[in-house]
């Protein structure tokens, strides 16, 4: 899929971000498609948070160009920042304020702060609005971070591990809210999370990073169609210990029964494989959880 920069809320062109002794992102080219919920996935240290900070303009690329809403991120101003929402795993708050004070304080920065949405979310997430932020639990702090990031109805919402401290009910509420936002406003969401079963429910596009490099950037449906687990049964035996087919990513099994993880877009591959090995093959699509190690563990190159 090739998107023009105008339609993409965030574009990174040949972006490298380095810190002393550490390369966080390496020659990254990426466009976030508008109107999608994009899952930003990768192992710890893959560069997900750095990418989100780059998109928000909090950090700047060492080389290359980042544009959010078509504006270089170093030049983001109130019109762009007013349409951008950021929820961080550990948000920085003004600790002496109560939740209500902080919401009022932040609301004054935005022209289109949605009080109704604020009240609705406050109630849904059961936030103690009269308590100081300094004494809130990690889960409640994360809820406040979510409210501060979404109540101005941003057109581009950046979520960095937004649900890691939430209980299952709050997580469900949060997911429902995101889907509602997408349906109502067509908001673009870039979400980074390790809770893949949750992410899987809402994303329609995925971006995988591995050691600062882009390894996957495609629609979730296309990704799911290309990955599968094959259960191979050969009644006469004779299955090899390792399969030579290039699309076989990993295999487990013995002489008569093997379980393979494969990646191929060729619908005829399964028939060819069955014929070649004189075996019966049953295919099952992989979940995001199962795809994750295939895409991110060093040494495996599923492309």
């Amino acid at each position: 899929m090739n998107l023009s920069p105008d339609s993409a809320p965030f574009v990174a062109e040949n972006v490298t971000k380095s810190y002393p002794g550490h390369l966080a992102l390496d020659a990254l080219n990426l466009e976030i498609p508008a109107g999608h919920v994009v899952g930003l996935l990768g192992r710890n240290g893959a560069g997900k948070t750095t990418l989100i900070h780059l998109a928000a303009g909090l950090t700047l690329p060492s080389t290359g160009t980042c544009r959010t809403f078509g504006t270089p991120t170093a030049r983001l101003d109130s019109p762009e920042l007013g349409r951008l929402g950021l929820v961080q795993q550990e948000s920085r708050f003004i600790e002496w304020m109560t939740v209500r004070q902080h919401l009022d304080f932040t609301a004054s920065f935005y022209a289109n702060w949605d009080r109704d949405l604020q009240h609705r979310l406050t109630e849904a997430l059961e936030l103690p609005v009269d308590r100081k932020l300094a004494v809130l639990s990690a889960g409640d702090r994360q809820k406040v971070g979510i409210l501060l990031g979404v109540c101005h109805r941003p057109a581009f919402l950046l979520l960095d591990e937004p649900m890691s401290s939430l209980d299952p009910i709050a997580r469900t509420d949060m997911l429902d809210f995101l889907l509602e936002r997408l349906r109502d406003d067509g908001c673009t969401v870039l979400i980074s999370s390790h809770l893949l079963t949750d992410v899987e429910k809402i994303v329609d596009w995925v971006v995988f990073l591995k050691a600062g490099r882009l390894v996957e950037n495609s629609s979730f449906d296309a990704l799911q169609e290309s990955f599968a687990e094959w259960t191979v049964t050969a009644p006469e035996g004779g299955l090899p210990a390792a399969f030579a087919e290039p699309y076989v990513l990993s295999s487990q099994g013995q002489d008569r029964l093997a379980r393979l993880n494969v990646r191929t877009r060729d619908p005829a591959a399964i028939e060819r494989f069955a014929r070649a090995h004189r075996a019966e093959v049953k295919a099952r699509p992989l979940s995001l959880d199962e795809m994750f190690p295939l895409l991110t563990i060093p040494g495996r190159d599923p492309s």
């Binding site: 928000a56 951008l84 002496w96 004054s108 100081k132």
Partner: protein, 496 residues
Amino acid sequence: MNPRVHLCLLRPVRSLIGIASIACVAFGAGHALFRLDWPTSRLLGLAVTLPLVIGFYLGGAAHEPMHRPFILLLPDGPRRLRNATALAVLFFAAVVTGLAAWAAPRVPLSAVFGLAAGLIAFPCADRRHRARGFAWLLAAPLAWGLFCALAALLLRPAMISAPAAFCFGGLALAAASLLYGFSRQNLRARAELPFRPLQSLLIPVRTDAAQLERESSCQRAHSVLGRDWNVKKVAPTTLAWMAVDRHAESGAYPRWSRSPMLLLWAAIMAVYFGLPLLGFLFDGKAFAADYGACLAQLAANRVDLSQVPSASRLAGLMTSMSSGMPPLFALIVALSFPIPKLTYPISRDRQARVVYGLMLLQLAIALFVPASALFLASLVGQIISNRFLPALGLPGVSALMVPLLVLLPLILSIVPFARSYWRLIGYIISIVLFNYLNDLRWLWIPFALTPLGVAGILILAAAGLELLRRRLLRHYLSCDLLGSSGLGNFMGFAMN
């Protein structure tokens, strides 16, 4: 406990720098402020000041692990820590006694040893139930000064006449402090409370940031409810966003007296106004004469302390520090601004302008506070001593204002903002540079008072401020907006 582990906790380089610098200031100031004769001053410094300073560093090294929950899980940890601290107390008491044998030969060494051991161990008994770094920093010099004033006359004769009492009394104090400070009950109270040792307070490191954050959070959780923010929509102006930032920083303090920033400036005012006032009250006309001479000297020339009679060292010190210290405080405060605590939806350019505005505000306060303190002191001094003093006129004001106006913006436009170590090095170089240039003011003050000089200073000041503005704009176009805020926080006092 393994001595290497204890040495690691003590952070020897930081401790040595800290102890040396505090002790040097204390020795010098004791002689200058309280006009003690040198033997008494040396004894006071060696047997009281130095052990207490060592004790706070040693106590810091012991308290740091005690304020972490893991200490409760370490088998026999507290006892080992206590024993290692006790050994260190005896070692340092012996060092102090060795120094006293050389510097105060007539005083019995057993008395010095006992007193030193007691005072080194005493800070270990300090039981912190909540964070209070800044208040403590303000209170400690005042308490120390009060003690010096009272003890100076009594200490030396008492130590000579009753050495055994000092020796055993001091050792008993040491034992009691160690037993109480390391008791199980105390340990449980400490484990969950934030604490920063002096080692971290004076020379900041990145790893202290998390602890600082925890302390600040803990402090604010217990503070009274902050002010409400009644602005419906922040106007798109730099002034409006300055107000936003100030509310975020100081809105927690409903009364002015609770703001550490104001407390800092009030403390400076109290020192420059309050200490001379003591001089006027206790030393009347003699002090007034010397203070007046120092004011005149400040205006016309630099204050050369060696030329000032010892009876008025206080006056000389105050007037000399009046022109040197506020810029340093202003520098610290100004450097605490570069990165705001919260990410605001404004451009980097606007953020730079907000920071610039806040720095200008600090400069204005730094200009106003010392000048008004000196002026008030001379005014009140005239009334108390019933003697005419040259009120702080244009020369004096220019002596205070010109270095700030001209040099401080220039220094701020050079000091690195980005990394804490570079910032610290830049900060130290700036202090040296500032004091050196400030000392040369006798060269330019006569010129500064001519119309051409005034014009020149204004042009230089405007150029410096413009350089600073451009530097901030450039900095904000390329910096990360994620780090902790500035040097002021690292120095141990959040600039609220």
